[in-house]
Symmetry: C2
Subunit: 205 residues, 2 copies
């Protein structure tokens, strides 16, 4: 039996979607405190999981912190200047890399399953690849938060080793980003900060 | 004079937009060959540039390859198994990190301009931060390609050192991802590959 593959023909987004994802979307620092449900968090992952990765390796793992106890444990490892952001968020996600992500390759990339052994034998190569792919997935995660109608507040100001010891002692996951999630509150963000000038950021050849 | 800041209230995307960005979107390997204009590439950047980064550092740089000569130079450094993908693409983007990205901090993050000196004095810290932020920007770039109605084909199968020597001798940019851009061709992609099971990829606390 031959699988029939539907080739998706991409269409430009309408102006509202472009505004909600890119041009009007903002990193929110202070949220309304309105709760975010576990179902909403699952819906975010159900979109973010489609972000492309090298050899479909999907090294990103996500810890959703959505209980008062969880938030209290997380707050111990957040920089002081960022604590109020986490406190005001409806929920918070910790984005991490699973150092043994390559164990899934035989199921997620079956036509090149031997890549599992290559990565297992070369931890530096495995780590470098994971950082690129998990970064792409992190970007996808932020856009997925916005796609379900919530605001994202990504932050790197936290003690990653502390978070890893707190939550990932058994799994060995390595955190690299915290993303607050919820509805924007008062004074949610400052004005737009400048972008690197286009002629410095891009070149054509 | 006080700046009035409009707080953007996020809205969920409609089903079409969700499909075009996430659930139906696919990494395209083989394109139609239809040209992509420099204006379309600029439009992609005009969306991708809003992706959040740590301290608004924006370390990502993009080389758009959109001439026959540029494509020929790029192809020398693409893995054999990926050459046909680049050849069929309307245009190709090389995503890179500017190792001296922190020089823009005084203008892009003026309220903490001293971070420029911290990064300049600690190249390892600067590099680690750049990799996280450029990864997020790379994810944003892929979604921006889709947002303007084109398909993206991100690839890591190329000789990064070769690409850097070919194009970035003066700037010192370090490439980490190649993204083919265009309209999907015949046999654009295989069927969907499996995702890491949700209960392995996410946890709640």
């Amino acid at each position: 039996m031959t699988e029939t593959i539907q080739i998706h023909k991409p269409q430009p987004l309408d102006d509202h979607a472009v505004a909600d994802l890119f041009t009007s979307a903002r990193t929110v620092s202070y949220f309304s405190g309105e709760p975010v449900s576990d179902e909403q968090l699952t819906a975010i992952w159900d979109l973010a999981k489609w972000t492309p990765t090298a050899a479909n390796t999907q090294p990103l793992r996500v810890l959703f912190v959505n209980t008062p106890e969880g938030k209290e444990r997380l707050l111990r490892h957040i920089n002081d200047s960022n604590k109020a952001k986490v406190e005001s968020a409806g929920a918070t996600a910790v984005l991490a890399i699973d150092p043994e992500y390559y164990e899934f390759i035989p199921t997620t990339f079956p036509h090149a399953a031997g890549l599992r052994d290559t990565f297992a034998a070369n931890p530096d190569v495995a780590e470098a690849s994971a950082k690129i792919s998990a970064g792409l997935q992190g970007g996808g995660f932020i856009y997925a938060v916005r796609a379900v109608g919530l605001a994202a507040g990504p932050m790197t100001g936290f003690d990653a080793a502390g978070v890893d010891a707190e939550f990932f002692g058994e799994s060995g996951w390595k955190s690299f980003l915290v993303v607050n999630i919820g509805q924007p509150g008062e004074n949610a963000h400052l004005g737009r900060l400048p972008r690197v000038p286009e002629e410095k950021a891009t070149r054509f050849v």
